[in-house]
């Protein structure tokens, strides 16, 4: 019996050793350990063994089976590893072949600029407010200290629907509507489409977009206006950006200013981009005119505020170095794909 088991074991180990793949190995396992396998047969023959010999023979059979199984496992692991190795070698791909794109669309550069500005001001606690594009003359002009027949009305080349209704020339009417609500303090920006009677060319469009800002609170100063807009310019054009305020005139602010930023292309040394000046005019601003506050029901002795307005297209053109405003309204896919 002992010899027989010995023989089975040796034969098994030999066959396992010779197995070159997992299928062959499985055949060997079945031939020895399967239902009709050699060792199984021995086990089945146990009933012929004398009861007193059974423990010993049983132990022998178990030992044999365990050693065969161990060998099977080891070999299986080796063969699997070898097989995986072969598969991996076989599966080499050319990683430089072109990517499969799920082509995504692109935001309009004007919107990118808008979202940038909105992000900066909402971060500073400003609320974004919208208002109508077709607006009453009162909100667009009169409530902004531009009475009937004021020359500033001519300057803005307004489109009229009739003598009371027009296409807003600025988003300032949104500010008036907000002030009229009487909820103070106010920190808001009003982005939106505005209209002026300018023929379409490389720098003009009869409709374009503005973002105006308004802050009304107790003790708001011109210094606050400077500080706020300096922060804005740094956020928008980079930490190194310097600002310069020049006196100007707007009917709805007093004192008024225009703000230049140091040219972000040359850093202020002067280049073709800034026409050699080192500075680029970016926005108009000022302290809200006391008359505007009064007209909206706010006491100018108690409250002061500042306002500013910036052209979105102007920012987009400057920031993305677009040389023709018309590109923004043509919607050529090749243009849009670049943003």
């Amino acid at each position: 019996m002992k010899e027989k088991l010995q023989k089975i074991r040796e034969e098994a180990l030999r066959q396992i050793g010779e197995s070159k793949d997992l299928a062959k190995l499985n055949d060997v396992r079945v031939a020895i350990l399967g239902k009709k396998g050699e060792l199984t047969a021995v086990l089945k023959g146990m009933r012929d063994v004398k009861p007193e010999d059974r423990p010993l023979v049983g132990q022998l059979v178990n030992e044999t089976r365990e050693s065969i199984e161990r060998m099977l496992e080891e070999t299986k692991a080796k063969l699997e590893a070898a097989e995986l190795e072969r598969r991996l070698i076989h599966e080499v791909i050319d990683v430089t072949l072109p990517a499969k794109h799920n082509k995504v669309g692109h935001r309009h550069p004007g919107t990118i600029a808008l979202e940038e500005v909105e992000r900066i001001f909402t971060g500073m606690g400003y609320e974004v407010v919208e208002g109508p594009e077709v607006e009453y003359d009162y909100y667009n002009f009169e409530a902004l200290n531009i009475p009937a027949n004021h020359p500033a009305k001519d300057e803005q080349d307004t489109f009229y629907i009739d003598d009371k209704i027009l296409l807003r020339t600025q988003t300032s009417p949104v500010q008036v509507r907000e002030m009229e609500k009487g909820k103070l303090p106010i920190r808001m920006i009003a982005p939106g489409r505005v209209f002026r009677s300018d023929e379409v060319d490389a720098t003009h469009s009869p409709n374009f977009h503005q973002i105006e800002g308004l802050v009304i609170d107790k003790h708001i100063t011109f210094a606050d206006l400077k500080g706020t807009l300096a922060e804005f310019a740094k956020e928008l054009f980079g930490e190194e950006t310097k600002v310069k305020f020049r006196p100007h005139h707007f009917p709805f602010t007093e004192p008024s200013a225009e703000m230049d930023v140091s040219c972000f292309k040359c850093g202020g040394k002067g280049c073709r981009f800034c026409k050699g000046e080192g500075w680029i005019e970016i926005l108009g601003c000022g302290m809200v005119h006391p008359r505007v506050l009064t007209m909206s029901g706010i006491d100018p002795e108690e409250y002061t505020g500042f306002a500013f307005g910036v052209g979105l297209e102007r920012i987009a053109l400057l920031k993305y170095e677009i040389d023709d405003l018309r590109l923004l309204y043509e919607n050529d896919q090749r243009f849009l794909d670049q943003f």
């Binding site: 400003y126 594009e133 020359p151 489109f159 629907i161 606050d224 400077k226 004192p255 309204y329 794909d337």
Partner: protein
């Protein structure tokens, strides 16, 4: 507004700055300088020379050899100029010098260097110049010949700098003056600002009394009938007019201001208009009938010939200057041909008046003319300036000996304009500016601006030329300007904290952008305006409500004449642009308003509706578009199933490929393939798909309120239903049955096969759906779903479906 820098320097004697320094400082104090031009930028080594002799050139018929005295010596110059004569004085550019351009008037960047050399073998040591070579033109130097050298006056000093002699050693400064600073549309106004900016004394001309011992009132009577439009009328009389050229110094200044010198009388009028900002007009007194001037409104349809020979038709809003019988001028705009000054004028009536700015502006628009004078009057002039200006003009007439000034003036000034008094409140200015400027310091700024201070009453006396100063904010600006905007400190508002917010509507729009872009659509922008013709291109019937658009009363032409009532034209135009440029697979979207009038003509503001418009051609089809809509709806929390109604009746869409999108019964938009005939109107031959979502309906239904529903723990029981249905049965009809009959356990269903063809009987199509049933709390048994499946099958059979087992 332009000024000569030399003129400013003469009025501000201590001023000694480079043009760049001037530009920077003036801009920072509020008189924005747009730029400057040095008239002698490209002129070097040019002196006054005198031709002493002329000899023929041995080898050239058209050239002559001149000996030219240039003061220090005599040099030889070869010239081809036709007008050179012995003894004439000319500008001569010496060897190594520069001129600005060619004699044809073309300018060369950086100038043209002149070197000595040989002309056809004869030595030439320089060049005699035409006015064009000096960078100017015959407009500014009317005596210059059409072709040839600029001949200088006989008294020109030989050897001196010719550029300075001609007044070309000046710099022209261009300002952008804001509309509130009427006083700065004059040389004196700018000079006053310059003096304050550079802290130098301001020395305006001293105007002395002029005139003989006669009285102007004996010559002319003035009546203002419409005092609302004419606040002041000053008339003076000049006899024995002696028309002659004005002196060089005056011509130089006018040239630098860009004004062509004409004769002493015209030049004096222009000079004073530049200097004082007050336009004046001169009439030939002998043409004034009845020796009187009446200022009144014109009659309706009154005809009048202005001095440019044009007949103008007026109406009763236009103000006229009339004599005893007839109109002689349109007030503030242009004089009449019937009373204009001619070369043989003997006695002149000089007018300096103040008219209502708005009326002049509107009249100018109505008549269609804008003159130098009306441009000034439009701004609303200071009536107190009129007398100063006319006296200055009379002083110049005497100085230039252009005539004999009659003593006195006829001054009709019904309501004298007085200067305002404003309290001086330094703390207030500091509070508004965020500064800490001493009161004394502030007072020095006002003093430099010629704004006196009444110490007793603590009031500032605002001169009438500063009409813009009305309240403390205005005064704070004056303080800020001269303290320096750059010196004002920088701070951030501190006060009650506020939250930065994006309103719900804008958040929804942001999601629309995100989804569209994830789906491959790029954002476009189109105009809000349209031509009414687009409705024909969109095949809209004559009675379509979309044709009810708001019209602009003063449009930029027909293409921009109405406010759009649909966003489609913009989209189709953009797609067409792309298609014509051979861009492949284009996908665009736009978020923009349409403007729907509630009533026409407008009685209230229109309904502005944000439209989410998608358009595409190339890869993809109707169902691609449908997918984008559903992705969007799902993302904004509109998770119910939209219904697609093929009967949407859009004439611009393919009749068999269009649908209204309904959500909870409401139409929230539509989609479809563009009708080939409509596409052709946009010059497009490929299939084009569009979708329009009405955003207000989305905003009303969207929500970010999501609730987690758990992940199913028990497996689903599935059932496949394969059927043959009549062709006209829509998938939507079948799915409606699933929704209605599937019961609570029906979790979802999916179409996995649809087929029409030879194996299917004609008039039918084959469709196959998988149905998933699931319970949250248990494994489903066959028996659990039999009921639902049977109900579905029964309903399907009722609409003509044949189930295939």
């Amino acid at each position: 507004m332009n000024t000569s820098l030399k003129w400013i320097s003469d009025l501000v004697p201590g001023l000694s700055v480079t043009p760049q320094e001037y530009m920077d400082a003036m801009t920072l104090s509020g008189s924005k300088v747009e730029g400057y031009e040095k008239m002698d930028q490209d002129l070097e080594k040019i002196v006054i020379g005198q031709v002493t002799s002329i000899a023929p050139h041995p080898d050239a018929d058209k050239l002559v050899i001149c000996q030219v005295n240039i003061g220090t010596k005599t040099i030889q110059i070869v010239t081809g100029a036709p007008n050179v004569t012995e003894g004439c004085k000319v500008p001569v550019v010496l060897d190594g010098g520069k001129v600005a351009g060619g004699h044809d008037g073309s300018k060369t960047e950086g100038g043209i260097k002149i070197k000595k050399g040989k002309l056809r073998g004869v030595e030439s040591d320089g060049m005699m110049c035409s006015i064009e070579e000096l960078g100017s033109n015959r407009d500014m130097f009317p005596l210059a010949p059409e072709e040839g050298l600029y001949i200088l006056p006989e008294d020109a000093p030989v050897g001196e700098d010719a550029v300075a002699y001609l007044g070309l050693d000046d710099t022209v400064v261009e300002y952008e003056i804001t509309s509130n600073r009427v006083d700065c549309f004059s040389v004196l106004g700018i000079a006053r600002e310059a003096a304050a900016t550079f802290r130098k004394p301001f020395v305006p001309p001293v105007v002395t009394e002029t005139g003989n011992d006669e009285n102007a009132a004996d010559y002319i009577k003035v009546t203002i009938q419409d005092a609302d439009l004419c606040s002041r009328y000053v008339a003076r009389v000049v006899k024995n007019i002696r028309i002659a050229p004005s002196p060089e110094w005056m011509q130089r200044r006018l040239r630098a201001q860009g004004i062509r010198p004409i004769n002493n009388i015209v030049d004096i009028t222009n000079y004073v208009m530049e200097e004082y900002g007050q336009p004046m007009h001169a009439y030939d007194l002998d043409t004034i009938e009845g020796r009187e001037i009446i200022v009144r409104r014109a009659e309706k349809n009154e005809k009048f010939v202005t001095l440019d020979g044009q007949e103008r038709t007026l109406d009763d809003t236009v103000l006229m200057i009339c004599d005893g019988k007839k109109p002689v001028g349109i007030a503030g705009i242009m004089g009449g041909e019937n009373s204009m000054i001619t070369d043989d004028v003997k006695t002149m009536l000089f007018e300096a008046a103040c008219f209502d700015g708005t009326n002049i502006r509107l009249s100018g628009k109505k008549i269609g003319m804008r003159t130098d004078a009306s441009a000034k009057f439009e701004k609303g002039l200071d009536p107190n300036n009129a007398m100063a200006a006319i006296n200055r003009a009379c002083q110049l007439i005497e100085e230039l000996d252009a005539g004999d000034v009659v003593g006195g003036a006829v001054d009709v000034y019904p309501q004298v304009k007085e200067g305002k008094r404003l309290p001086f409140e330094p703390e207030k200015y500091n509070r508004l500016l965020g500064t800490d400027i001493a009161a004394d310091e502030m007072l020095t700024y006002f003093e430099r601006l010629e704004i006196p201070y009444d110490e007793e009453k603590k009031e500032l006396l605002i001169p009438t030329w500063r009409q813009d100063l009305e309240c403390d904010a205005d005064l704070a600006e004056e303080v800020a300007r001269f303290f320096g905007y750059d010196r004002i400190p920088v701070s951030l508002p501190n006060g009650e904290a506020t939250t930065g917010k994006l309103p719900f509507k804008l958040r929804i729009e942001e999601i629309a952008r995100d989804i569209a872009e994830f789906c491959g659509f790029s954002q476009g922008m189109t105009y809000s305006f349209e031509s009414p013709k687009v409705y024909d291109r969109l095949l809209l019937p004559a009675d379509s409500p979309l044709r009810q658009a708001i019209a602009i009363s003063n449009p930029l032409g027909e293409d921009f004449s109405i406010m759009r009532t649909t966003s489609l034209n913009g989209m189709l135009t953009s797609l067409s642009t792309n298609m014509n440029r051979r861009n492949k697979n284009v996908r665009l979207y736009e978020l923009g308003n349409i403007y729907l009038p509630k009533q026409l003509p407008l009685t209230e503001l229109p309904d502005e509706r944000m439209q989410f418009t998608l358009g595409m051609y190339g890869d993809g089809d109707f169902y691609t578009m449908k997918g984008v809509i559903e992705e969007f709806l799902y993302k904004v929390g509109m998770t119910e199933k939209p219904v697609y109604d093929p009967a949407s009746g859009k004439p611009f869409l393919h009749p068999g490929r269009q649908a209204n999108v309904r959500y909870q019964g409401k139409v929230i938009g539509y989609l479809g393939e563009v009708h080939p005939a409509c596409a052709a109107n946009y010059d497009m031959k490929e299939r084009v798909y569009v979708a329009v979502i009405d955003m207000p309906q989305i905003v009303a239904r969207a929500t970010f309120d999501h609730k987690y529903e758990g992940i199913a723990k028990f497996p689903a029981a599935t059932r496949d239903l394969s059927m043959v249905v009549p062709k006209d049965v829509l998938a939507g009809d079948i799915e409606k049955i699933f929704d209605e009959k599937g019961g609570k356990l029906l979790e979802k269903y999916e179409l996995f096969d649809i087929y029409e063809g030879t194996q299917i009987k004609s008039g039918y199509k084959s469709m196959a759906y998988s149905l998933w049933f699931r319970a949250k709390d248990r494994n489903l048994e066959e028996a659990d779903i039999t009921g639902a499946v049977n109900r579905i099958i029964k309903a399907l059979t009722a609409i003509g479906a044949e189930l295939r087992q």
